[in-house]
Amino acid sequence: MADTPLIQLQGIARVYGEGEAEVRALDGVDLAIRKGEFVAIMGPSGSGKSTAMNIIGCLDRPTAGRYLFEGTDVSGLDRDGRALLRRHFLGFVFQGFNLLPRTTALENVELPLIYKGLPHAERVAKARLALERVGLAGREHHDPSQLSGGQQQRVAIARALAGEPMVILADEPTGNLDSQRSHEIMQLLQQLNREGITVVMVTHEEDIAAYASRLVVFVDGRLARDEPVVARV
């Protein structure tokens, strides 16, 4: 069991459209990610990196191939099955933060815990703890509109953390931030990774990818490179 990868993609293909309009976004991808890794996925636009991210995040289903999560085939799960998998094992961080507007930082972080069915007091406690971990203690009752971009992304990371996931999936987490904030966010993700959380991140910036331990590059829906990050920050 010890050598079972946390995430294993086997011959994954994702095809959009049919006939003439057919687009093969992913075309036979094999990828294994072990517990505790920090993987950066790079590639030009249309290379399939976002599609791969969506499939790993169980937001999308592969057209062909098998996806094993902790050794269990989850590629056949229906909508609700995938929702439960996301709820219990995955945390998401997006480029556009995707916080609920006019909702306090604390309530945003509580969101996944509501669907986990935790009672109110426990939710608040966990959400506070998560905000503390990302360095936002004292900002619990701020609206997203009252927070800077970097702070909003921290709230989003806290939200991903609150559900105590096995993996955090970050899709261009620094895309909307200036370089100073970007590096702070990356340091935070790196620290969380050191504390044991597996991180999978899509980015198109070399210096951001340098925070990861492993670099995966997609080109035309296929894996072009898969190598450890040598000059790790």
């Binding site: 937001l59 997006f94 995707n98 609920l100 969101l111 669907y115």
Partner: protein, 401 residues
């Protein structure tokens, strides 16, 4: 979890106060209209039933002219005479016959004056029409024969002329007559047409004929039948006698009418019921329109909150949970509309009842039904938008601007 969903719905509603208000307005109006209609309808039915009781049992009204369908319709047929009254009195089916001769006049006492309907009649009228003497006495046979200047006041007239002062034994002036108040009637309240039944003054019929009207006419007769005599039998015997006395050829139409007051009352009740039903169905249509309004706004809301739905799906909400959230919100909206509508409808019904002088009798069953129906509107019209929300693709939803 459900409480959490309800809380979310409340927050969403409060965030868009104006929009929520406009959304539920249709339901508010629909529910308010139904509640007001039904409550007023029931109140006026109760009033009609009370009037049936106040008319007395087995009372027939005889009037000259063809069949009347309400007060004030009359044609040029000759009036009755006191001889007709005596002849009807001698019929075995009649218990009491009270002649009436009505006019309208101003009644003056001191500085106070009131214009009221003056009914010349006999003491029998009081019992036949189911009046009760509150104080004093009825006319004596002697007063009736002589056409004495005595009168009995209805409550409205007494109140306007005397207020809290003693009326009995006082003398009021009606045109040239100085008239002693010998009796006071207990109030009856509003009649089937909403008129004030207590706005009247009774005098012996001869007094009215000689000193106010200046003729010998009897413009109507109120007849109480003997116990055990059916209205139908009473009507046929009275009609036969009156045709003979008025020398109507066989086959010719009656030039008088005999009306069973209870028949009129029951007709009024059914008119009431039909009218309330009709107005309620119009109100129900408004509820339907209100429901469509809720559906419309919920669809807009789903589109507006696509990204929110995407976030919820991403953190692990199932389709069922998203569906429940939007459904609960629609139900909360329509129930809110229902509650406001119930309050508004009862308020309107109360004001209308006061204005129409009918009893205000809110029916808890109707309130519960209106509440349930408004919740149903939320379920029915909220389902489609909620299902649309639940079926959103999380990736598309997250990308939505």
């Amino acid at each position: 979890m459900l409480w959490e969903t309800v809380r979310l719905a409340i927050i969403a509603i409060i965030r868009n106060k104006l929009r929520s208000f406009l959304t539920v307005l249709g339901v508010v109006i629909g529910v308010a209209a139904v509640i007001a209609m039904v409550t007023v309808g029931q109140g006026s039915s109760a009033q009609v039933s009370a009037n049936v009781a106040s008319l007395g049992t087995n009372v027939l009204i005889v009037r000259p002219g063809k069949r009347m369908m309400g007060p004030g319709t009359r044609d040029t047929a000759p009036a009755f005479t006191l001889r007709d009254v005596e002849a009807l009195q001698d019929l075995p089916v009649t218990a009491a016959v009270a002649p009436t001769s009505s006019t309208s006049s101003t009644v003056v006492f001191g500085n106070a004056n009131v214009t009221t309907s003056i009914t010349g009649t006999s003491a029998a009228y009081i019992t036949v029409s189911n009046w009760v003497l509150d104080d004093g006495r009825a006319f004596t046979p002697a007063e009736e024969r002589q056409g004495a200047a005595v009168c009995i006041l209805g409550e409205t007239v007494r109140e306007k002329l005397f207020g809290s002062a003693e009326a009995l034994g006082q003398t009021v002036r009606i045109k040239a007559i100085s008239c002693e108040v010998v009796g006071l009637l207990q109030p009856k309240g509003a009649g089937s047409f909403g008129q004030d039944q207590d706005d009247l003054l009774l005098m012996p019929i001869r007094t009215v004929q000689r000193r106010l009207a200046g003729n010998q006419d009897v413009s109507g007769m109120s007849i109480a039948l003997q116990d055990g005599v059916s209205s139908a039998r009473g009507i046929s015997e009275i009609t036969a006698l009156m045709r003979e006395r008025r020398r109507i050829e066989p086959g010719a139409e009656d030039n008088f009418s005999v009306t069973d007051m209870k028949e009129i009352a029951s007709m009024l009740t059914s008119i009431n019921t039909v009218l309330a039903g009709l107005l309620s169905s119009v109100a129900a249509v408004s509820l339907l329109v209100g429901g469509i309004g809720i559906m419309n706004i919920m669809l807009v809301s789903v589109t507006e909150r696509t990204r929110e739905i995407g976030i919820r799906l991403a953190v692990g909400a199932t389709a069922g949970q998203v569906l429940t959230q939007f459904l609960v919100e629609a139900i909360m909206l329509s129930v809110l509309g229902g509650v406001v509508g119930i309050a508004l409808g009862l308020g309107l019904a109360y004001v209308a009842s006061r204005y129409m002088v009918i009893p205000f009798t809110p029916d808890p069953m109707v309130v519960v039904l209106a509440f349930g129906f408004s919740a149903l509107v939320g379920v029915v019209f909220g389902f489609f938008p909620a299902r649309r929300a639940a079926r959103l693709d999380p990736i598309e939803a997250l990308r939505h601007q």
